[in-house]
Symmetry: C2
Subunit: 307 residues, 2 copies
């Protein structure tokens, strides 16, 4: 079926970068490439530019001259595909790929994590979201409500709590430790500044920070959890939130569960049992998940054609 | 000393309205007036327009023709005065008042609440902030870090937690009650919508809401605290946060403490003891506090002149 295309590619397109995996129709790996962001919130044209740039860089690294796009089938897992308008614009602006399959990056992450089998993923990066694929093919999402009300355990969520902690310390409402000192320095204050100056700098930082900036505090919280009670409490609460998301996705606790995203590794130690023992690392990444999505669609089309 | 001016006015200028109180130099009350917002974040010119509008409306209601501004001394407690640039612009654009004293609205609230005597206030409205005036004249502020990291117990803070609660209920992470139903209806969903539609409407509302909109959820939380555990838990946590702010402002717990702002009344029942017994209602409002600020400044100038 797939022999109609010379290459199949899987695209993992997020808000900070695009990762692409190229395979031959028989599943053999050809090359990987990456480029800038291709989240659809920045426009379909920019997303396609990033995808083609990653594709060119991947072929170049493999020493293969890129065939015409018509000879390539693309599976794309993209941030923003759940917005129907953006998804339609992306499809319309296809620069010439021979076939196109699209899904959310959450779904391709799920497909990759369990290689298309039933399972649960909780993705924890700047934001957070959980998704389940059941053995009957049905899917559900839990979390993913976004910054500022939701995205529990994410970098943005951890950063908000870390900022609130340092505010309490500067006010005399909480005891200060190494985490508070590190955050004050991060915001431009520190030991050489007066208490009033530290207060002003943290206030200015907190009042102008966005989700990505708050997420930059998460590594400080992780780094100090061994010596700072407030840091430890934030990470334990994050672990508890992940467990609640996982329970809502699979109340029976029978499905395999994978933690994905940049904070999955650092937060594993803070998961409550039995989730800590059960949680696995993903079997493959979202670019491989996007290839699975593509192969499923090509298979379905092929079945349809031969009927 | 004050006889240099025909009238003294106190201005309480916030983000939603301006309240003004007019007195004769001997302290006798002449009239009150109000108008739109005069918080300095919207510009000094708009603040002066609102103040003069409130002044005109107050004189009109008293049936007195307004004298030239030169015959009036103004004390202004304004949101945004802690920004030095905004404060300077406001002073420069004085439309002709004979004398001018300015302070933050938090400080004039404090002066009004204890009639210029030592004491603590915690102001809880859309945002929150605590301030203490000690008997030695020193002052400190606790809280007031703003939306989204701080402002504990405020309308914005309560609304964020209420929105998070309804997200958990729609996900199956928490049990739903009358509060969650009320919030779903507030966001445009309800019993006649599918679960998916309710989810979409709450998501759209939460992702576009700002501090003022989140604060609109606070009355729903207050209204349901008798029949909804989640609502009760949010308000009890708010009461605990107010107690922490009060303790940091006055660790000895000897000073009188007044709760101010639109949520002070509704939250009183949820304060932990001994704060619930100790907390008093303010002796006067922030416009009277602004008049005290003005009289203190005129007194100090008068002493300076006669030296």
């Amino acid at each position: 079926m797939n022999t109609a295309y010379e290459y199949l590619i899987g695209v993992d397109g997020g808000g900070t970068k695009t990762h692409i995996r190229i395979e031959r129709p028989d599943g053999s790996h050809v090359a990987d490439g990456s480029s800038g962001p291709s989240a659809l919130m920045h426009g379909a044209g920019k997303a396609w530019d990033a995808i083609v740039a990653a594709l060119d860089s991947a072929f170049q690294s493999a020493g293969i001259s890129r065939p015409p796009l018509q000879a390539i089938a693309a599976g794309c897992g993209l941030s923003g595909v759940n917005n129907p308008l953006w998804a339609a614009q992306f499809t319309e602006q296809n620069p010439g790929f021979g076939a196109l399959a699209i899904g959310t990056d959450a779904f391709t992450t799920l497909l990759g994590a369990h290689l298309g089998q039933a399972g649960v993923v909780v993705a924890i990066g700047t934001g957070s979201v959980g998704e389940v694929l059941r053995s009957d093919g049905s899917r559900s999402e839990v979390g993913g409500w976004g910054f500022i009300t939701g995205d529990e355990a994410s970098g943005g969520w951890i950063g908000l709590r870390a900022a609130n902690h340092v505010e309490r310390v500067l006010d005399g409402r909480a005891a200060g430790g190494p985490l508070a000192s590190a955050i004050v320095r991060f915001c431009g204050g520190g030991e050489t500044c007066s208490a009033g100056e530290n207060r002003e700098r943290v206030l200015a930082w907190a009042n102008s920070a966005n989700q990505s900036l708050f997420a930059q505090l998460a590594p400080l919280v992780v780094a100090h959890a061994g010596q700072d009670e407030a840091a430890l409490a934030i990470l334990r609460k994050a672990g508890h939130e992940i467990a609640q998301i996982a329970s809502a996705l699979d109340p029976s606790q029978q499905l395999p569960i994978a933690l994905c995203g940049g904070l999955a590794g650092p937060l594993h130690a803070y998961l409550p049992e039995p989730l800590k023992s059960r949680a696995i690392t993903p079997r493959a990444n979202a670019a491989t998940g996007a290839l699975l999505l593509l192969r499923q669609q090509l298979e379905a089309e092929s079945v349809g054609e031969t009927r």
